[in-house]
């Protein structure tokens, strides 16, 4: 578990907001190239690693998205505060007073500006939209103008940290946890002789529409795909029927938009290999890359396995490493048994 934790922390330490995944991609390539032909490719900035038999009848795609939410600089105001917009579905309630990393010409530390309570006149229960917030670098305007440009990305400045037992917290676990699962899965498969062609796709831009998965699936032309994302972990305010227990194993997605046979096969494999799992039942689409991959070209049979995660889209995301390991084992088992 220690190795898995270190891998996850390396992945989470590399910035990769949607559309600016380069650093995260580089880190992932370094990890994946040990196991297969790996390259960062395409106009979208995806990473693809291919393994197995290139001429095999079965073509399996494993997907996890590489990007994470953050902020994007829109400009610098007259007093030198950096103005921002969301890059993905940022939860504005966790922004005020947060230490941030601004990826400008240099890496800068800023704080999300926050009006002191005495000026709020009872407005303490409101949080303004991100577009009305600003990141404070504490520097004069001309200095800020030299260092920061529109389009630069801003991320929460938090170090990945181990919590009790096998739980960890970091920003961007959505979906570096999934990326980590696929790298671990590649490692598990690296000593196996595969009867399929396997493409591991780390797709860009999921948080802003999933364009990386659309183009990546088109390029790989799989006939089946397994998508790994994170999903809601049980926590206060989140209904049990809408969430999965942390440490309860992968959440196998069941939905009209997913292929029922693969879904059932995953559950069968989990039972056979004594991998704990839980179901995540959805009434339509899944809100993940599985939605678009499933209708790529003439259609792809798709399944979804999710890692339960608390505090999604905040810098305080929490997962259990055992869930990552079990998800990797389940996917590896599926690929191994492919005939």
């Amino acid at each position: 578990m220690e190795e898995l934790k270190k891998l996850l922390f390396r992945l989470c330490s590399a910035p990769g907001t949607s559309g600016a995944e380069e650093s995260a991609a580089e880190t992932a390539v370094r990890e994946l190239e040990k196991y297969g032909t790996t390259r960062a490719e395409g106009a979208m900035g995806n990473v693809v690693c291919t393994m197995g038999n290139p001429d095999a009848r079965r073509r399996i795609l494993l997907d996890a998205h590489l990007d994470q939410i953050g902020l994007v600089v829109t400009g610098v105001d007259e007093r030198g505060f950096v103005r921002v917009a969301p890059c993905g579905g940022v939860d504005r309630r966790v922004l005020p007073g947060s230490p941030m990393t601004v990826c400008g010409r240099e890496t800068l530390r800023g704080i999300v500006s926050c009006m002191p309570p005495h000026l709020l006149e009872g407005g303490e229960d409101k949080v303004v939209p991100v577009e009305k917030m600003a990141v404070d670098l504490g520097l004069p305007r001309d200095r800020v103008m030299e260092l920061v440009s529109p389009g630069d990305r801003v991320l929460w400045q938090v170090q990945p940290r181990a919590l009790l037992g096998s739980r960890v917290t970091a920003a961007g676990l959505d979906d570096r946890a999934g990326v980590c699962v696929l790298i671990r899965c590649a490692e598990l498969l690296s000593r196996e002789k595969l009867n399929c062609r396997l493409s591991i796709l780390l797709s860009s831009r999921e948080e802003v529409g999933g364009q990386g998965a659309v183009t990546g699936a088109f390029a790989q032309e799989p006939d089946e795909a397994l998508v790994v994302d994170v999903s809601f972990g049980t926590q206060p305010g989140v209904a049990e029927q809408k969430s999965g227990r942390l440490s309860g194993g992968p959440m196998i997605g069941v939905a009209p938009s997913l292929n029922h046979a693969i879904t059932q096969e995953l559950a069968r494999l989990a039972r056979k290999r004594e991998i704990p799992f839980q179901y995540e039942v959805m009434g339509g689409k899944t809100g993940t890359n599985a939605d678009s991959i499933g209708i790529s070209r003439a259609g792809v049979r798709c399944a979804l396995a999710s890692v339960p995660l608390r505090n999604m889209h905040t810098p305080a995301e929490v997962v259990d490493l055992t869930d990552l390991e079990n998800t990797a084992r389940l996917l590896a088992g599926y690929v191994k048994e492919a005939r």
């Binding site: 007093r79 579905g89 504005r92 309630r93 009006m115 002191p116 504490g138 305080a316």
Partner: protein
């Protein structure tokens, strides 16, 4: 010679939630002991440092800064192993969700919130109610949590320190910055005898300074603090209170104290004569240890010299390195002038 930022970095790395200032106390005692003539403590845990100067002081002066910081205190542990908490000191509820904390200085945790995807319409755009917040330390259930944490344990913000480009950002700058300045002053022999106190429990009602002022029994006091700079984004100039980079902030009045008029003027005069930028705190807001000190025993003539600090009482404050040095300069000269009996009638 000025206080170096490494000392400030070290002080800011220590935990000292009100009532639990021991770690800060020990570090400061170690730092100042070689320069002190007498180091004492009292029932509450204040650190009282007496230092002889080259001359006996015509006016008994006490300098003070507080060691404690705002934080959280664990009230109960839920069945799921999450920690419910109350705030220690005034924390703006908007700055809590999603932050990293350290429980009892050793157990990492995060303050969780329900994901944005699952919010009801009426929850959008609203700060998370503090009662909905919990600290997640990764425990699987109550049993596991209780092996590591007990009700009454305190948690403090866990965020880094940075001092590049002349901007200092970090946790607990309120009032470790004041502590760092007074520690550094103690390393130089003053003109006149003086007592420097590092107080506990400022954030929960100016309590440590009350007992310290009683035992020291000074005639005059200078409080060195960090005060709210509201020169943040979208605040118009007249509401900014004070400005980061504008020099030390001198108070005429806040919600706890009306300051000694002559000392207030003396502070500005001293700044001007020494080429130190200086600004008035332009709002009657907040309060600090002066509140209890100035009304101690039969009354103490009191001044407050503060650092303009943005985002006070949150995960990371922001001050200017230049202000930090200028505040030290002003406090040093002002202290000797007050102890020397100025302003003379």
């Amino acid at each position: 010679m000025m206080a170096d930022l490494e000392l400030l970095r070290h002080l800011c790395s220590l935990r000292g939630v009100s009532g639990r200032e021991e770690e800060v106390f020990d570090a400061i005692r170690k730092e100042v002991s070689p320069y002190a003539d007498k180091v004492e403590t009292d029932a509450l845990g204040n650190l009282i440092v007496c230092q002889k100067g080259r001359k006996r002081a015509p006016v008994r002066l006490m300098l003070s800064a507080h060691m404690d910081e705002v934080g959280l205190i664990v009230t109960t542990v839920t069945e799921d192993g999450l920690l419910k908490f109350s705030c220690v000191g005034g924390i703006d509820r908007r700055v809590l969700p999603g932050k990293c904390v350290l429980v009892e200085g050793k157990i990492p945790g995060v303050i969780g919130v329900k994901p944005i995807h699952l919010l009801e319409k009426e929850e959008l755009g609203k700060a998370v109610p503090p009662d909905d917040l919990t600290i997640d330390i990764g425990a699987r259930d109550r049993g596991e949590a209780l092996k590591h944490v007990s009700p009454g344990d305190v948690a403090a913000f866990d965020s880094g320190f940075d001092c590049s480009r002349g901007v200092v950002t970090g946790r607990a700058l309120d009032d470790r910055a004041g502590c760092a300045i007074l520690i550094d002053l103690l390393k130089r022999e003053p003109e006149y005898d003086r007592t420097v106190v590092f107080c506990v429990q400022e954030e929960v009602g100016l309590r440590g300074s009350a007992t310290a002022a009683y035992s020291v029994n000074p005639q005059a006091a200078v409080v060195v603090e960090a005060t709210t700079a509201a020169d943040v984004a979208d605040v118009e100039e007249r509401k900014q209170v004070c400005r980061v980079g504008g020099g030390p902030v001198v108070s005429f009045m806040d919600r706890r104290t009306i300051y000694d008029k002559e000392y207030y003027r003396l502070a500005f005069r001293t700044a001007q004569e020494n080429g130190i930028p200086c600004q008035a705190k332009q709002a009657v807001a907040g309060g600090n240890d002066a509140g209890s000190i100035h009304a101690s025993r039969s009354g103490v003539r009191t001044a407050a010299v503060s650092l303009a600090c943005r985002y006070l009482h949150s995960a990371a404050g922001l001050i200017s390195e230049e202000d930090f040095h200028n505040t030290e300069k002003l406090v040093e000269i002002l202290a000797d002038r007050i102890a020397g009996g100025e302003p003379r009638p």
